[in-house]
């Protein structure tokens, strides 16, 4: 796996923090802040309190309290804008590295599609969809496009971070090229498929910078809830003027402002956009680019994963898993002969035979100097090694048997039949014309994948294996990997049909794919992860692109989606649960002048009414900063089932949200009293 974009940005990166500090102030602009109702209201009351403080200062009446409250209310706003700025800063830092790839290259615009000689030099930004350009060795791809003609190796490190060049050619599944990549050898004729500003790189930069960030559906709904709560508490505080007047109490603006800001959900209001940006950032760090936040959210909701067998569930290649000798031959002898026959075989299958023999039977022979490698041919369907007059062969069972004088015994045929039933491939092995036994070549299920599927099942996600294998093989591997279902002999249409069927049951489906024929299924799926190596059509159809082209990552994408939602829910719950203790801090403090008997409600034993109110406001502001790392890192997702996860998170963020501020406010009050601030 590559790591270019995945460079670790420290949570407290100095540059990001200092830039974010500046941005936090520029984000105070009420016009832009109005998008966040909770923090906007906080800013308005901070302003009102400041005015009161200044007035009191001019009149020379105790201005210290309103000024200190105003200061902390402004800090509350600043901490919220700072949280957003830090999240954006981290995205921007990633975008910077991508922007370097987007140099203003000159493109060779072809005037005549047939003639590669006739080109005019044009600046990349002037290229339009449909233009044909010639890209030769050393040239930077001016924009996204589809290869019309030619084969070339392309260095895509600017996008993927992987420096080894990949082959791109016209036709087939590898015909897409991306702006910013470099042709290392040969030439390509490319039809431009993106207008300037909308290329893959442009979109990626815009996404990670957060410039194109639109609120996701769940975020919009949450914002409505927060705005509603803000209005409700605004009502509670404003009407308190009436109740106060009746009770012969005039509440001052700083006191009401403090009460209001402590009650409205400033914590989640301040961190909401940071959580969203950070979720996107986590995907990018994972080398997956989502075309919208909506897709990340949908990933958390996925009920079924469609996974390609090869490369995702199993290693791409079959591997030797056992030696089954004929009577009279030891397993060790068979292993040794198999390994010798494979010494010259550089295919993964061949190497796996040598490895297995080495692991199980300490086979340690090197390639003899005088050996002659007999390569595999479609004709003989055998390969092997000849040396010192000895010959070792391995190959397809029927082909090998044809070279032998007599029929094999039943133990051999039974072994072959059993291997076939298990969905594996048998290879017969001979030494000097004598049949020694059979090797089982098996699709090896990746270690740990079974456990991951079990974990997914616990979260209510079904896994479906998609394979071109026949039903017997598919069923055997499906059982071994522990998937819930499989589609054997799958055609692209089968995939599409399956997705539609599952969706008709009301479930959300995620899949990944790379070929053009995957495009309809990718578009149909709720989360479609296209491989960066895939075709342009596939990349357009999906709503995420995996830059590493690693289909296993679908599972992580789902986890990242869930993590985003969990973080949002945890901080919302925490924020709302905080209100209870803040009431206990502020209500006795503001009413005690009228009814001294209410001092009994001051269960935290806060020193003075002023220090109680101030402590609550300070806690309310500081908790935003304290939770910034959690918002950026995200609450860890645990595959323990929804009920257990809910119990756990409700305990930490719900009950914790009720208890934590009691401790925090008390601690701040004690600190204030040490310095004799309002106490």
């Amino acid at each position: 796996m590559t790591t270019a974009n995945a460079e670790v940005i420290s949570l407290f990166d100095r540059d990001i923090i200092s830039r974010a500090t500046l941005d936090a102030f520029s984000k105070l602009n009420p016009v832009t802040l109005a998008r966040n109702p909770v923090i906007f209201v906080t800013e308005v009351v901070a302003l009102m309190t400041s005015v009161v403080g200044v007035e009191d200062l001019i009149h020379g009446s105790g201005a210290a309290f309103p000024i200190v409250i105003a200061l902390w209310l402004w800090l509350t706003v600043l901490f919220a804008t700072f949280a957003e700025a830090v999240a954006e800063g981290r995205g921007r830092a990633r975008a910077e590295s991508m922007k370097r790839a987007r140099s203003d290259t000159m493109a060779k615009l072809m005037i005549d599609a047939k003639d590669r000689k006739k080109v005019t030099l044009t600046a990349a930004p002037d290229l339009r969809k449909g233009d044909l350009v010639l890209v030769e060795t050393g040239d930077i791809m001016p924009s996204d496009g589809e290869i019309i003609e030619g084969v070339a190796s392309v260095n895509e490190s600017a996008i993927t971070g992987e420096s080894a060049p990949v082959v791109r050619e016209a036709g087939g599944d590898r015909s897409a090229v991306t702006g910013g990549t470099q042709v290392v050898s040969d030439w390509l004729v490319v039809r431009i498929t993106a207008d300037p500003g909308s290329t893959f790189l442009d979109r990626m930069i815009a996404l990670v910078e957060g410039a194109e960030r639109r609120k996701t559906p769940n975020e919009i709904a949450l914002n409505i809830l927060l705005a509603g709560l803000t209005l409700i508490f605004l009502l509670a505080v404003v009407t308190l003027i009436g109740f106060g007047k009746y009770s012969s109490t005039n509440f001052s603006i700083p006191v009401l402002a403090a009460l209001l800001v402590c009650l409205i959900p400033t914590t989640i209001g301040g961190l909401l956009s940071a959580i969203g940006i950070a979720g996107m950032d986590r995907l990018i760090r994972f080398n997956v680019v989502a075309t919208s936040g909506r897709a990340v959210e949908a990933a958390g909701d996925v009920d079924a994963l469609l996974l390609d067998k090869t490369g995702t569930i199993t290693f791409g290649n079959r591997m030797a898993s056992g030696f089954f000798p004929v009577p009279g031959v030891t397993e060790s002898d068979l292993a040794e002969a198999s390994a010798i026959a494979s010494l010259g075989d550089e295919t993964p299958e061949g190497r796996s035979i040598v490895t297995l023999a080495r692991d199980r039977f300490q086979f340690a022979q090197d390639m003899p100097a005088n050996a002659e490698v007999i390569p595999f041919s479609a004709n003989t369907r055998m390969s092997g090694l000849d040396f010192d007059g000895k010959s070792y062969r391995k190959g397809a069972v029927d082909s090998v048997l044809k070279t032998l004088p007599q029929a094999p015994d039943t133990q051999f045929t039974e072994a072959v039949a059993r291997i076939g039933r298990a969905g594996s491939t048998p290879l017969a092995v001979t030494a000097n014309g004598r049949l020694l036994g059979v090797i089982e070549l098996k699709d090896i299920v990746k270690p740990g994948i079974r456990e991951r599927f079990a974990a997914l099942r616990k979260m209510g996600i079904r896994t479906v294996m998609v394979t071109g294998d026949n039903r017997i093989t598919a069923a055997a591997i499906a059982a071994e990997a522990g998937v819930d279902d499989y589609i054997a002999e799958a055609t692209p249409q089968d995939k599409l049909d399956y997705i539609r069927k599952v969706q008709a049951e009301g479930r959300l489906v995620a899949m990944c794919g790379d070929g053009t024929n995957d495009a309809p299924a990718l578009a149909q799926a709720d989360v479609g992860v296209a491989m960066q190596t895939g075709t342009q059509a596939a990349r357009e159809a999906g709503n995420m692109v995996d830059l590493d082209s690693d289909p296993t990552k679908l599972i992580e994408v789902v986890e990242i989606g869930k993590q985003l939602l969990i973080t949002r829910g945890a901080l919302t719950t925490f924020s709302i649960a905080n209100d209870i203790s803040k009431y206990f801090a502020i209500l006795p403090a503001i009413f005690v002048a009228t009814y001294p008997q209410l001092e009994i409600l001051n269960i935290m034993q806060l020193k003075t009414p002023e220090s109680a109110i101030l402590s609550a406001v300070i806690f309310n502001a500081l908790i935003i900063v304290v939770l910034v790392p959690l918002a950026l890192r995200g609450v860890k997702f645990r595959a323990i089932g929804a009920a257990a996860l809910l119990r756990r998170n409700l305990l930490i963020y719900g009950l914790g949200g009720i208890i934590a501020p009691f401790a925090g406010i008390k601690a701040i009050d004690m600190a204030l009293s040490v310095f004799h601030v309002f106490s």
């Binding site: 409700i232 505080v237 009407t239 009436g242 958390g300 009920d303 009431y583 409700l650």
Partner: protein, 567 residues
């Protein structure tokens, strides 16, 4: 507190929750059209009314029909109250109500509130009671239950366009539930001694022990009393409400009325479980309601049983607690349980006077109302309100399982949250702005019988009771003033319809959504964890905004009393 007292509370809960299950099953059968005892009568009625019982109504049709019916009945009741002098069955020759009192009373009975700004014995004729008020006790209750049935249907399947037929729901609920039970319960009350006389009887004359004489209004009391409780209405034939021996003759009828009060409210979530074919979901909602109500009952009982500290200090107190404002024949536990049940539902009937309760005990009924009347609330309204809280619970905490929130397979999205918050906001506006504003006016302060925090409690109680359609009052407030007649009248109308219509809209929106199958990743909404969460959300999102006002009212009252200050 005594063991007997706590056992009484336990008995009420056992009777109510025990019968909630068969009641829920029966309600579901009514909603699903499986009850057909009087189908000939029912169909004849549809023909007569020109209603097509098979018409499927979208949520808009359902809401408009419900609203239209309410408007017509509101106008009709207004006319009856204004013109009662000219209408039959007015043996005492009571004059027509003033426009503003008639407005307030018509709003009150159309909205199932039964706030009584009038004095029944003096300001309303027997005919108006029977034909005006009692009829509305059936219709407003049936309309509330019908709305609950419509909300239930939203969760029964995918892509539903219809929430049912309002006329059919209204008819079936009246015919198969309200009328038969009222007849049976009314008969029981008659046996116990409640009068059920022709409305042309003027009054009875009684000779009191001190040789004076007293007139007592008479009429068809028993049946009105039955529907008063069963439909969570609360409007008594007498000003003294269920403390009056003709409304509530003895301890048995007290228990019966308490049961009638609660049984539909607790039966509805059970019915919901049957409708969605997942009984555990319905039970979870019912237990959340029951736990809050039980805490309220025990808390109020404890506060009253502890007695008045000033009396105790003066050596005046009886050992059994604060008996002021209570009927000796009922005693403390039966009185507090009756009143808490009547504020936990939107009944508002009383058999003892909340104004005379210890302040802390009085704060519990007020808080139960502020929670949105969900414990178990008014018939129908309590159910659809707790659904709103369930949606909010799932929305706030549901994200913590890593999926966008869904309740019973229905995704909770921006539209639902917007409508739910709108509903909560409307209630908050009327309660807090109404009470806060009234206390700033001379007229409002003039209505109060007491000063200080106790006076604040009276005003807060009135606005809370009206907005939440409860109808009970802390006696003491003079409510027949222009400010309170119009103000509380509007609060009742908005508290009912401006809350119900957004919820029907939510139901419409949810009905159309696909019902997602539950999986291991689904937020579980049927276990103790959800019950706890739901209770927390009801208290935090439903009640916390009222805490500052409550602190200046009943809580301050309580602590002041304990320091020796009274109002």
């Amino acid at each position: 507190m005594t063991i007997q007292g706590l056992l009484y509370i336990a008995l009420v809960f056992a009777l109510v929750l025990g019968s909630a299950f068969p009641m829920g099953r029966y309600l579901a059968a009514i909603f699903e059209g499986r009850v057909k005892y009087f189908s000939a009568l029912e169909n004849g009625f549809y023909k007569l009314a020109g209603v097509d019982p098979n018409r499927a109504m979208r949520w808009q049709d359902y809401a408009v029909t419900l609203l239209l019916l309410s408007v017509i009945h509101f106008l009709l009741l207004y006319a009856i109250l204004r013109l009662q002098f000219y209408l039959p069955y007015n043996p005492q020759g009571i004059a027509g109500m003033s426009p503003r009192l008639a407005f307030n009373t018509a709003a009150s009975f159309t909205t199932n509130t039964n706030w009584q700004a009038y004095v029944p014995e003096a300001q309303i004729s027997n005919g108006a009671q029977m034909l005006g008020l009692a009829v509305h006790m059936f219709i407003s209750a049936a309309a509330g239950i019908a709305a609950a049935a419509a909300v239930m249907r939203a969760f029964t399947g995918s892509g539903l366009k219809s929430l049912g037929n309002f006329y059919v729901d209204l008819t079936r609920i009246s015919l198969y539930l309200l009328i038969p039970v009222t007849i049976i319960a009314g008969a029981l009350l008659v046996i116990a001694g409640s009068p059920q006389l022709f409305p042309n009887v003027p009054f009875a004359t009684a000779h009191t022990l001190d040789a004076g004489s007293q007139t007592i209004a008479m009429g068809p009391v028993a049946f009105q009393e039955a529907i008063k409780e069963f439909g969570t209405n609360g409007g008594g034939w007498y000003n003294a409400n269920s403390a009056h021996p003709f409304e509530n003759p003895n301890a048995w009828t007290n228990l019966l009325e308490n049961w009638l009060d609660l049984v539909i409210g607790f039966g509805l979530p059970i019915a919901f479980g049957f409708m969605i074919k997942d009984k555990k979901q319905g039970r979870a909602l019912m237990y959340a309601m029951a736990i809050i109500l039980a805490l309220g009952c025990v808390g109020t009982y404890a506060a009253e049983a502890a007695g008045n500290p000033l009396h105790i200090a003066a050596g005046l107190s009886a050992s059994d607690g604060n008996m002021e404002g209570k009927e000796v024949r009922f005693g403390i536990p039966a009185s507090t349980t009756f009143n808490v049940a009547a504020t936990g539902t939107s009944t508002g009937a009383v058999d003892s006077f909340t104004d005379s309760y210890m302040p802390l005990a009085g704060s519990i009924p007020i808080f139960l109302m502020q929670l949105g009347e969900v414990t178990p609330g008014g018939v129908g309204s309590g159910f659809y309100t707790i659904i709103v809280f369930a949606l909010l619970s799932v929305f706030v905490a549901g994200l913590m399982v890593g999926r966008t929130p869904e309740y019973l397979g229905k995704k909770v999205q921006a539209k639902e949250i917007k409508l739910a918050m709108l509903g909560v906001l409307i209630l908050t506006v009327f309660i807090l702005a109404g009470a806060g504003f009234s206390l700033m006016t001379a007229s409002g302060v003039g209505s109060l019988a007491n000063g200080g925090p106790h006076g604040l409690s009276e005003m807060l109680y009135a606005w809370t009771s009206a907005t939440e359609n409860n109808g009970s009052a802390m006696a003491g407030l003079s409510a027949d003033t222009p400010l309170l007649d119009f103000g509380l009248g509007s609060a009742m109308l908005f508290g009912r319809f401006a809350f119900m219509i957004p919820i029907l809209a939510i139901a419409g929106s949810l009905a159309a959504k696909p019902k997602l199958p539950a999986s291991a990743g689904t937020f579980p909404t049927d276990g103790p964890l959800f019950i706890g969460l739901l209770i927390g959300v009801i208290i935090i999102l439903g009640g916390l905004q009222y805490l500052p006002a409550d602190t200046l009212g009943p809580l301050a009252d309580h602590f002041l009393l304990y320091s020796g200050k009274t109002f």
